[in-house]
């Protein structure tokens, strides 16, 4: 099981932004959602999740408000700000470019390296 701290900081940020793009969510929700979607590959520990959430909030990419959770507990819900969705778009583009580039290299045939 890969420890959560191994996820690059910038990567965690974009994961959070992407998750929040579908609506406000509290910390636990974000962590479980990422875990589910990644089929348990990405497990986000609280030790990196909450500092990241706070960092993003201070940057103005996400905002927080207190609300009631599904089982009626007081919970802090995070949602994407317009600035945050702009950031998400640009990060996704960048990720797309990067991953295409990397996979092109990794999938290159023997002839191409020759």
């Amino acid at each position: 099981m890969p420890p959560s701290t191994d996820i690059l900081q910038g990567t965690l940020d974009v994961l959070i932004l992407k998750t929040l793009a579908h609506g406000p969510m509290h910390g636990w929700g974000i962590a479980t959602r990422i875990q589910q979607i990644s089929a348990d590959v990405l497990q986000i520990g609280q030790g990196s999740l909450y500092p990241a959430l706070h960092r993003l909030e201070y940057k103005g990419w996400i905002e927080a408000s207190w609300g009631a959770s599904e089982n009626n507990r007081k919970a802090k819900f995070y949602s994407l700000t317009p600035l945050g969705s702009k950031q998400l778009r640009s990060e996704l583009e960048q990720w797309e470019r990067l991953s295409t580039a990397i996979s092109t290299v990794l999938n290159a045939s023997r002839e191409e390296f020759a």
Binding site: H26, G27, W28, A31, T32, G45, Q46, G47, Y50, P51, H54, R55, Y58, K59, G60, S69, N71, R73, K74, A75, K76, L83
Partner: protein, 879 residues
Amino acid sequence: MIREAISRLRYIFRKHNASTEVDEELRLHMAHAIEAKIASGLSPHEARRQASIEFGSLQAAREQCHDQHPRAWLDTLRQDLQFSLRSLKRDRGFTVVAVAILAIGMGANIAVFSLVNTILLRPLSFHDPEALVWIQPADAGGGLSGSTYSVDAYEDLRDMNRSYSGVTGYFAFSSPNNHKLTGNGIPQPITGIDVVPNFLNVLGVTPGLGRDFRKEDGIKGASPVVMLSHAFWTAHFHGDRNLINTAVSIDNAPVTVVGILPESFDFGSTFSPGTRVDVLTPLNVEAIRYSGNTLTFIGRLKPGITAQQASSETATLFPQFYWGKKFPDSKGSYGRAVAVPMKEHVAGQLRHSLYVLWAAVATILLIVCVNLSNLLLGRAAARSKEFSLRFALGASRGRLLRQLLTESFLLAASGSILGVAVAAAVASWLAHQGSIALPLISELRIDPVTLWWTVLLGLVAMVLFGTIPSLRATDTGLQSRLKDSGPAASEGKRHEGLRNALVVSEIALACVLIVGAGLLLRSFLHVMDVDLGFRPSQSASITVDVPNLKNEDRYSFYRNLLHEISAVPGVEIAGLSDNLPLARNRTWGPPGVKGVTYGRNERPSTFVYVVSPGYLPTMGMRLRGRDISWNDNATNEPVIIINEKAARFLFPNGDALDHMVVMSGKEVRIIGVVSDIHETNVEAGSSWQVYLPIAQGWGEDGAELVIRSSMPPDTLATPLLSTLRRLNPGQPAVELRPLQALVDHSISPRRFFAFLVAIFAAVGLLLACLGIYGVISYSVARQTQEIGIRMALGATRIRVLFSVIGRTVRLSVIGIAIGTIVSFMVAKAITALLYGTEPSDPITFSGMILLLLSVAVCSGYLPARRAADVSPMTALRTE
């Protein structure tokens, strides 16, 4: 990026109670985790257990969240500051010493910087000062004598040049106290300078009040006007604004005050350092057209013209000028002239001295930093357990470093603030020392530039003294230190090597300072020892107001005056001269033997003194032949006394006595040959000098009474002045000045610099002592046990004493050896500032070595005594 920064900035000022919010958030996370575990089929107890394990430390999570906050670093800083303050307060002795030596080092640096800034760096307080130039002969040998021109030359320059938007000048030969303020009780002496009416306009000085001089003010028959200096206006007229356009009485005649100079412009401190100028008056050029070379030239360059371009034009222009157009063959009286930037003219000669001073204080600061480094290292050694403990409890090295640097910062900041206070006191004291002949010194103050310099210097000092000890204190291997039971034996050893190196460098730096100060002091003593050609001790001078009388009546007035003055109790001998050595700078054409033609510039211009009988002996000058007598009057043969230098040149093959020479077109007989005097500068050589009888119609320019007496001037002043006032009620209340004051004034810059460097050397020496003492006593304290064992094994007291002193001497010898080499190079660099002293002066060097060695032994002696007094039993029992 910017929006991000703004967002973060908002949070800095937002009140937050994040800790409770974070706690709640984390608790919720935990609750969710437990629920999830229970849902997956675990027992509530097991679910809680596993969730807790996965979760990890709540406290760490809390702190990590907190660290994300934009204000986190501020909180840390606050904590660091509080902690440092507490720890400095606990160690009060250390703090006081550290701040005190920093304050001395910073204070000296700030004061000297403000001096450098005022004299060298800050632009002159004129409009567009860079465009102002001082025009002088290309080969000016310094001083005014060679750098003045005639009125006709002025007018030619003004009309023919293409480089200047304005040319102006002033009458260079006004003597101090040349006017008196009358009409209100006892006349007050004042000093006035005649300036070409466009003077202020060319300089770009606007009167603080009233109007500038106009061209008409300088025309013959114009109603007399005057411009007061700000200081004079404040002191004598209490800053009365209604004074403008009213008349004041100067020399018993009404003169209209047309303006007050701005506070920022002090003529004396700019153009004639160390003298006071009270009023400016418009110059009537017609009155001095044929009085000789009396004008200085100042030009304002046209936009885009450089001083160099102006110089090359000036060089070709000047040889075309006439001394006086009335005399066609006076064309070509002047050699090439150059335009020197004004700032260079005012301050250029001091540049070297000021840089030396600057280097000296920088050395002081270095020594201070080395010393502090040393103290901090000692402190770090004592605190090593504390740091090990904190490190073990989870503090990172960076965090500890930051805390130590915060401590250094606090020390540097308080030292700097105190230093500014010290420097401000010194600066305001210096600014009011009118007698120091340094230009612009009245403008000395702590200005914003100086404050920025202070900040910069404080930071540099902090880095210098704080870095090494902090790195050392937080060095790795902390756990081994915790384990150490003894007084950190191995750690101490490592510290000691570094501390020894620091002490050695401290001693070397002190060496350089002491050698520099020694050489400058020896030069100063040599200057004091110069044979001035007259004896300034036990003599004093006072300016006599000469009533407006015809020649013969005036001569009787002088004769009667000298008679009366000689009768004043205490006065041994008295004489009159219209000029004194080291005072006004006035030259005439040189004398020559009749029939002999001399090459142009073969004979130097000649200083002229129109004197009464008794003047030469009163001055204590050595005379061959006879003195002037009252019989040397209009009916008898004109006579002259010349100095040795002139005599040697004019009569190389025999004695000059009794020969005839031509002086200013008159044939005169040489009745005496007198010693050369230093006429303008103690450190410069002598030119030609002649003494003419006061009663033979040479036209004396004022009168200075000189007396010789064993009584102090203070007691003599009152009877002398009352005698003078009895003879002439118009006599103003001028000061009776010892002749030594003239000498002091002339050598004041050298004394000033030598004195300052000596003080810095003393401070450096003291700090070096402190350093030696600190290191040796620390190592003695560390070795108490060892010494105890050695004594128990039979080492004698003396042996222990000598071993400690031996170590001190070893350190000093290394320091002195390095220091001597560096000093030698430094001494070579300051050769230009020395007078009669070789840069390798053996007395200075051996004196320095002796001084440092003995001081080192003394500061090692105290800890050595302590070591020798160690009782083996107690030493072995400690720890």
